[in-house]
Each structure stands twice: as C-alpha cells, then as structure tokens.
Symmetry: C2
Subunit: 235 residues, 2 copies
C-alpha cells in the first residue's frame, strides 16, 4: 500500500508522462530564429511562444483544433502585426519548423537514463503534432528512452484541458493516480494535478507554479534531481 | 427576413453584449500602478494582464474557478517571482483594485449613446466578478446605458469558453444568432463567433483578431464607428 503525506492510500506509480517542449528540449534555437524575424527582439520571441499557447487554449475552449505548427505560425504573424513588423511567410515557416531540431537540455539524458532503470512505463505527452514529436525525438536522440509518444492531436484538446490527462491514463489502462507528469510549465502541472495525476515540476528559469493551488510533491531545478526524488519515493 | 452577405437567413439582432475591460474601460491606471510595483517596467504590466487572462483559461479548462481579482493578484505575484522582484502584498491588492476606478475610452460615451437610441437590449458581459462590474459601471458613469450586467461569476467559466456565450443568450431568451458581441479582444470575438454570435471588433492598439478563423462582420477602430455600422445594418 502506498500512502501520501496525509496517510491516504494512493496507487503505485506506474506511468511517467513527460512534457517535451521546454521540459526535455531547449527550444531556444526556434526562439532565436523567430526573434531574427521580429527585429531581433528576444522578448517578442518569448511573447510568440506564449501567444501560441494562448491560441491553443482559446481553440480548446471553443472546441476547435488546429495543429500546433499552424497555430505557431499564426501566432508569429499576430505578434508581427501587433508590432508593425513585416514578416516573409516563407521565412516564418522555416523558423517555426526548427522546433523539430531542438536539442535536449543538458540534464535530460542522465535523468532519463536513471528513470529508465526503474520499472515505469515512460511516454511523452505533448502539444506537438504526431509527425513533429516523432521528428523531435528522432533528431534529439531521445527516442530510445520512451515506450511511446502521445500527442494531443489524437484527442483534439490541448493541455491543460483535463480531458487530455484522463485520456492519456485511459490509453495506458491505468488510473490518473498511478501517473505522474514531469513538466517545466506550471500550467501543465496544474492541469495534471487537477486531473488526479501526481506531478514533478522542473523549475527552469522564468517558470513558476500556479500560486492558487497545492504544489506538486516534487519541485526540482532539473531532471536529474527529479529522477533521484522519484527513485527515493519508489524504493 | 435578415440575410447575411452569403444570402443566408439570419435572425434579427436583438441583444448587444459588451466586453468591459479594455473595450469600454481604459485600464491603463491599473497597469500604471502594477508597473510601479514591478520596477517601473511597463512591459511587465502588460505581461501581468496577459498572465491573468491565461490563468483564467487554465482554470476553466481544469473546471475550476477563482474570482478575477484573486487571479489578478496571483498573476502579479507570479510575474514578480519570474523577474526576482519583491512585491508588498498590501500594495499589490491596492494596485489590482484600481480596476474598479478605470475610466471609459474617449469614444465610448458617444458610441453607447448612439446605440441606446436603437431598439436593442444592451448588456455588459465580462470576466470581472459581480461586485467589480457593479463598481466599474458606477464609477465610470456608464451604468445608465445598460439594461443589465452579466458576469462569468454566475456560470463559473471564463470567456472565451463557448458555454459562457450560450449561457448569456439563454439568460436573455434569444438565440446566439440574435446576439452580437462588441469587444476589443480577438479571443473574445473568436469565442463569440464560434458560439454562433455575430461580432464587432474594436481594433484598439496592440489588439489583433485570431488569424485562423473567419473575421467578424464589423471591424472598426472605435465604438462610434461600430455604432454607425450597426445602425446602418439594422436600418
């Protein structure tokens, strides 16, 4: 019997889901290329990624769905328009697709290796489309650590809609309480916890947890520390 | 019989719903006060309002609800944390509640007056809580133009979730196609159109429509022009 800090029975941890963009992969190559199109203003590239996320949430709330890449492109053109910058459409596409070439953060290989030694199912759970996540894991060399890849494309809702997490648990034939999401985004951890998952937050620079709810059981600056904590918990 | 540009029959326009913050009211007084707490960085105040919105969407997707003011405060503390700025909690509350004192944009009185002469029901439909919208309309002198005030607080979903717009139409006993949303936010217009409303976008500085969907029938730089267009349409 596994119990949480309040002495309540919880299921054994069976599945680890990993967020990909910004959690495993450093997407600063894309942001750099986007900034170059936006008068070299790095803060506009940050706003671009943010607006891309906002657009996914907006669509999910209206029960619509466009692919993450299309939305990324739309967000780039919106940021350009807001700032009276003219962006060449072909160059915009070129910048966006660089997300397929993003490389892992330096702590990621070792952290995944440590967790891979344990008895978990390990899967990616991403807002990227199916073709993009396949390319991303291939190009980053991370494919070998995972038992599978889930994309929101298959359900047509973006994270953090709670249906996404419930669907992912169902796909793996486990309860939400037997799943943990590992992510560097407060909104992703929030959604997972609200859906009944356990959570591990990687506190990368500029990332914060949502203040109005309970914190996840693990908060660490990198995946190596997260792996150590999970291994400790499951010992 | 009313027909749209494609010759399709549409209902007569019966209810005008108005977004409030940034559409009718200029909230730069709040942003100014928030910026003062954030090392006088105006771009951080813009990020604050944006993050507040994001938090409302995040909660709606997880089926949770906190009041707009509480979320505004949480967003302010998050932005401060991301930027390693220490903010006094009492001063933070003081800054946020200034939203109750926001004054109308210069075009708003005349635009409302023009529409008031017509045979519409006019209501506010806002993410602000009930006590806040009451104070806002009182303090801005705009109360007299409206037949009622609807707050998302009564349904527990934030705009642009499509349930909000359907609920508002139901409350007024009309079909969504008999309603128009007037707003300065692309995401709000998007949500309303997806719910079957008609839409008028006020293209205020820095505001853009969502590029991946059809545009609303009215796009104008201020409420006076919007009013003229609506009056023309209904003549």
């Amino acid at each position: 019997m596994y119990r949480n800090e309040h002495g309540e029975a919880i299921g054994k941890l069976k599945v680890l889901f990993f967020d990909v963009n910004e959690t495993l992969l450093d997407i600063s190559n894309v942001k750099q290329a986007v900034a170059e199109l936006l008068d070299n203003k790095m803060e506009l590239a940050d706003r671009w990624f943010n607006l891309m996320l906002q657009y996914t949430w907006m669509e999910t709330m209206a029960d619509r769905y466009h692919d993450f890449g299309e939305i990324g492109l739309a967000a780039l053109h919106s940021i350009a328009k807001m700032n009276h910058i003219s962006v060449d459409p072909a160059k915009a596409i070129k910048a966006i697709v660089l997300i397929k070439e993003a490389q892992p953060h330096p702590d990621v290989e070792e952290g995944l290796h440590m967790l891979h030694e344990m008895d978990f199912n390990m899967l990616t759970l991403t807002n990227s489309s199916n073709p993009t996540i396949v390319a991303q894991l291939q190009n980053s060399g991370l494919r070998r650590w995972f038992d599978g890849m889930l994309s929101v494309e298959d359900i047509g809702f973006y994270k953090p809609h709670r249906h996404v997490y419930r669907w992912a648990a169902n796909r793996m034939n486990v309860k939400p309480s037997e799943c943990m999401l590992i992510a560097a985004h407060g909104w992703d951890i929030f959604g997972a916890l609200e859906a009944g998952y356990r959570g591990a937050f990687i506190e990368r620079p500029q990332q914060v947890l949502y203040p109005l709810v309970e914190e996840p059981e693990i908060i660490e600056p990198n995946l190596i520390n997260v792996a150590k904590r999970i291994i400790e918990l499951e010992r």
